[in-house]
């Protein structure tokens, strides 16, 4: 501070600027504190921005999995975009790669990127299967029904077969010809469709009632192979005791199972039982106890259920018992036992020999079928409803593989792609060869074979049959169920060219 006395002389110069120094110290202190705080706040903000980018990248990757899985549900490959042309979603991008781990099982790897965030998720899914039980009664070869046969249907969810008035909805199909015989004394009744192979016919002899259609199938029906679960096989079992032999729940295997006359074997579910061979002597009994869970029985070499034996189930729900013969057998699979048997019998590689005393409630599907007497086959319509659910793919595993951030990076620069040129997710699915038979809005029958990108889906009213890259597309059926094999429209199709 500068002051002068009355004579104009300067006062003590040593005290000049002391207040300024103090002020500067105070200001400097506040500035240092503010700077350090803003640096700290900025570091926190950066960390939080990275955390948000990571979270958004996570959800982008998950959106990729959802898009791929939705495509997978419609029979697509599951591939969506790629690192060179990812799908654009908001300010981020993603792509999904698909790898087949084993037949029908795929791993989808989805990568999502936005800002500095990058996430990679993987999902393993099993393709849906066209439930064979929905085929009803089906044979790969020719079928001949003898006089007095009954092929009809019921709904197991409504109670027992005997108490139901509505017996319609049965399906008898074949890849070969079908011959149905009836007599005045022993008329044959089929309460539903009879569908021979695509080039075959139904031959009716005598007194026969068929309530449904007899037009041939659109295509040959391929019977999927049976995958036998890995089970440690135990020694051969011969059971002759008056006390029942209990096969416990779980995975069980025997080289063979022979049940002597008067003896009983009970298989308790939930179980997967693998047998080399199965033999029931006359008056022997095999019981499937499904009170605690379903039973899946696989017999690999031979089946001989003698006349007078009994194969029965504790439940009247056929979905709970599956009797499968996965491979060809030297002798036909002999089912001469009595019942009642509620279940699904599936033998895609061998011939079934159905005895006169055999009666099935559920479904019977085999490579070939021979009837020793009149057939008594009662299809459970509920199996068709359950089969519609089997068409959907199943997720087996979901995994977070990578989650990180690279500060200052930009996914578009990183991948060398232009944001404006990227496709939206629904258009980023990998192109495939589509083969489709369908009805248009006027119910005209069309056929198209070519790239899916050149096909206009808006002209389709109903899909009859479709494949993508040669693999049948199993469309989820939300409102109706399919029973039996696909029937031919009976007219020549209009062959479509590229539409787009």
């Amino acid at each position: 501070m500068k002051t002068r006395n009355g004579n104009g002389e300067r006062r003590d110069a040593g005290r000049r600027g002391s207040a300024l120094v103090l002020s500067l110290i105070a200001v400097a202190t506040v500035v240092v504190l503010s700077a350090s705080f803003s640096q700290f706040a900025s570091a926190v903000a950066d960390r939080q921005a990275q955390a948000i980018d990571k979270k958004q990248a996570f959800y982008l990757a998950e959106a990729g999995l959802t898009e791929a899985f939705a495509g997978f549900t419609c029979g697509k490959s599951g591939i969506v975009g790629g690192p060179e042309a990812p799908a654009l979603l908001g300010d981020g991008l993603f792509w999904v790669e698909a790898t087949e781990l084993m037949p029908g099982i795929f791993r989808l790897d989805s990568t999502g990127m936005i800002g500095s965030g990058r996430a990679r998720l993987s999902l393993v899914a099993q393709r849906g299967i066209d439930g064979i039980a929905a085929l009803g009664v089906f044979s790969g070869g020719d079928v001949m029904l003898k006089a007095g046969s009954v092929v009809d249907a019921y709904d197991s969810t409504l109670g027992a077969y005997a108490g139901q008035a509505d017996k319609s909805g049965a399906a008898l199909g074949s890849n070969g010809a079908i011959t149905v015989v009836g007599t005045q004394l022993k008329p044959t009744s089929i309460q539903g469709d009879v569908t021979p192979g695509s080039e075959e016919t139904v031959q009716v002899m005598g007194s026969v009632t068929i309530t449904g259609s007899s037009t041939p199938a659109l295509t040959t029906t391929e019977l999927p192979e049976v995958i036998v679960p890995p089970v440690t096989m135990g020694a051969a079992q011969t059971h002759a005791s008056p006390y029942p032999l209990i096969v416990p729940p779980g995975k069980v295997g025997y080289e063979s199972l022979t049940v002597a006359a008067g003896a009983e074997v009970v298989i308790h579910g939930p179980a997967q039982v693998v047998l080399g061979s199965l033999t029931l002597a006359a008056s022997a009994q095999l019981t499937f106890d499904t009170s605690q869970g379903p039973v899946r029985l696989y017999v690999q070499e031979s089946v001989d259920l003698a006349a007078g034996s009994v194969m029965t189930t504790s439940s009247t729900n056929p979905a709970e018992v599956m009797f499968q013969v996965p491979a060809a057998t030297e002798q036909p699979v002999a089912l001469r036992s009595g019942g009642p048997f509620h279940g699904v019998i599936y033998a895609p590689e061998t011939t079934l020999l159905l005895g006169a005393g055999f009666e099935s409630f559920g479904a019977v599907v085999a490579q070939a079928m021979t009837f020793e007497g009149a057939a008594r086959l009662h299809f459970d319509r509920n199996l068709a409803a359950l089969a519609a659910e089997d068409v959907l793919p199943v997720m087996l595993s979901w995994r977070l593989d990578e989650l990180g951030s690279l500060p200052g990076s930009n996914p578009f620069d990183q991948l060398g792609v232009v944001k404006g040129s990227l496709a939206k997710p629904s258009l980023a699915h990998a192109d495939q060869t589509l083969s489709i038979d369908y009805y248009d809005a006027l119910d005209a029958y069309h056929q198209y074979v070519g790239l899916e990108s050149e096909f206009d889906w808006s002209v389709v009213k109903t899909v009859i049959f479709a494949t993508r890259d040669g693999v049948e597309v199993l469309f989820p059926r939300a409102t109706s169920t399919k029973t039996g094999t696909r029937k031919s429209p009976g007219v020549l199709p209009i062959v479509d060219g590229p539409m787009i």
Binding site: I25, Q48, K55, M102, I105, V124, L396, R399, L400
Partner: protein
Amino acid sequence: MRRAGFTLIEAVIALALIGLVVTKLTLVMEEARRAHQEESVALALQDQAMILLDKIAYAVVGASRQRLEPEQPAPLSSAEIRFQVSLGVEDGEPVWSDPEIIGLAEGSGQLYWGQNVGAAEERIVVWANTVSQMLEDELLNGADDNGNDLADELGLAFVVDDKSVVIRLTLENVREDGERLQVTRETTVTCRN
């Protein structure tokens, strides 16, 4: 006549004024320093809470409902969660990780993640040591004091309801003046497997 120096009164007044200014400045600076520390601690605590909650959520999200315990629907809660996450599929069957655990060490405020706990190949990593003993505004009295439908929940609380896991976390730090600063965060995770 030239007068040198100050009179006593001038000197006293000057010293008093200087003292006043210095005191004020000291108070201002102390206030600024304290505000800085408070904000820094609060910000750091919030940052840590967010990062921790994300870390727990990302660890649990790959778990399966069948491999998640204990099941504690509200008003019950647990300060630890045991789970296994899916590693993929082999021969058509899902493969699961070794058993993992995330929990709160009693009394120490330590939040830890562990794998194979109790086994020879045990791994334990402490993720934080600032977890409050009880969740914010909760007292150990059998009642729901903080209105979140849980009674007596600890500073880390898991509520498992089917495939959903609700995670609540309170972190705390003690300031220089002895006052406790608490930050509470909550999130819900749906297990994907």
